[in-house]
Amino acid sequence: MRRIKNSLFFLLLPFFANAQLEFVKIPAGTYSLGSKLHGLNKAHKVRLDSFWISTTEITNAEFDRFVSNSHYVTDAEKRHNAMVFEPGLREFEWMEDSTAYWRFPNGVSRGGIENKMNHPVTCISYRDAQAYCKWAGYRLPTLDEWEAAARANTRTDFFFGANNQLIHQYANIWKGVDHLKADSTDEFVYTAPVKSFAPNAFGLYDMYGNVFEFCSRKPFGATAKPGVVHARGGSWWCSIHSCGFFNSVDIGRVASIASFSNQGFRVVRQ
């Protein structure tokens, strides 16, 4: 009897663990994606089955439940190779910090997540994101699914139109002209709590900014490169002056075992 109870507990655990996750249904259809002039994300049409995508990025609280229940050890904890940021670095410079992992995404000296449980989890690798998905019974969105969800039936680079000055209503991004000084224009130097900014027309929050979101598969027409994965939507680090990937078109890339403090993910269920 006890064995049956235990089995049931572990069988149902993922459902309890993700009870707080909300999803939006993206309808089946043919979607026009990419951009005619883009070097990596060329204009293409794709037929997608309907899928459900989480309205928010996976939070520290969610990831904590995963780790607590599965005793999973992330790549950054195993390899001590996380890349972190602190104001003062030149553009696109990141630092290695052997103490950093998801509980201390920018290293122990820069504080932990105790008061940030509703922020997106960061400092995790693509492999870690996949491990969460496997445990929870979800999967990562494909690059095309992510874009269809982000666009919310728009064809402009941004789901709110072409004016990038409106980005601050929808996304937690870096507002400084460079990264030499902390961005003190709002309270979020790094991540912001999920749902702090306005959603897109599908009701999806933080599709741009906050954290880069891992996606599966390779860009349309591109050749897969072993060990390289992709992520979309820009992050808290990105600014109008450098990076600028907080849009529906650009596709970032990184090594599959790299853990940056601006990388996170959201999930999909069919």
Binding site: F92, E96, K225, P226, G227, S242, R253, V254, A255, I257
Partner: protein
């Protein structure tokens, strides 16, 4: 066996260079062709390649199979200074930020950029590689001079090393290299970088710099590639160099 190692290494390097070029828009300018060009450094390359194969095997045992792996500390420590330089120039070993792919549209023959481009899209120099360049500045300077004079070009990896180690002593070499090959506008970018990095008062106060910095950020900034702008950059760099030497 030696030939196989060398071929693999050269192929990897060329692949990295070309994969960058493929990603970057439609600009077919000559200056762009120099943008990601790397200088091949071969000192100890065979030994390093062999070590990388060993490191990859260790990584595989640890469950990491989807990237080649970089030298373990004991392997790295066994390299000579010259070999460490080769390793830094040929194999940046730390992950690069994922949004660092720039997609310029303006022809780079007509401009001088204010920021050096990133190295390979997926990797950058690690802290130990950066520290090596800084701590061995004199040797690094010597190697760069030797390679540049031998190849009659200064690849992005060498320019990047000069910027990291802050080798202002090479300003005359950079200028003579530019005069020998005026298509490589990124040599001028490197001069600008050195003056800005060292906070050259004359340069930072100049109307030239203020014009570029007026929008606050100069990461994507550039100035027109004109005779007067080129002359200004070179003469300012020389003044800065001589002022440094007087100290």
């Amino acid at each position: 066996m030696k030939a196989i190692f060398l071929t693999i290494t050269l192929f990897t390097c060329l692949f990295n260079c070309y994969s960058q070029l493929d990603l970057n828009g439609k600009d077919k300018s000559i200056s762009r062709a120099y943008k990601y060009k790397m200088t091949i450094v071969v000192w100890g390359l065979e030994k390093i390649s062999r070590m990388k194969v060993e490191a990859a095997a260790i990584n595989k045992k640890e469950g990491v199979t989807d990237y080649s792996g970089f030298l373990k500390q004991h392997q790295y420590d066994s390299l000579t200074v010259r070999q460490k330089f080769t390793y830094a120039m040929m194999y940046p070993e730390t992950f690069a930020q994922i949004c660092s792919i720039s997609l310029e549209t303006e022809s780079e023959d007509k401009i001088i950029k204010f920021y050096l481009p990133r190295l390979s899209g997926d990797f950058q120099l690690s802290q130990r590689q950066r520290n090596f360049l800084i701590r061995n500045k004199d040797s690094v300077s010597f190697y760069i001079k030797e390679l540049t004079q031998l190849n009659h070009q200064m690849g992005l990896n060498l320019k990047n090393a000069i910027a990291i180690a802050n080798i202002t002593e090479l300003i005359p070499l950079i200028i003579s290299e530019y005069r020998a090959n005026t298509h490589d506008h990124y040599l001028l970018t490197l001069l600008i970088h050195l003056m800005e990095q060292n906070k050259s008062p004359e340069f930072l106060e100049s109307s030239f710099f203020k014009e570029v910095a007026k929008n606050g950020s100069y990461y994507n900034a550039s100035v027109a590639y004109t005779a007067s702008n080129v002359e200004y950059v070179i003469s300012s760099a020389l003044k800065f160099y001589y002022a440094q030497n007087k100290k």
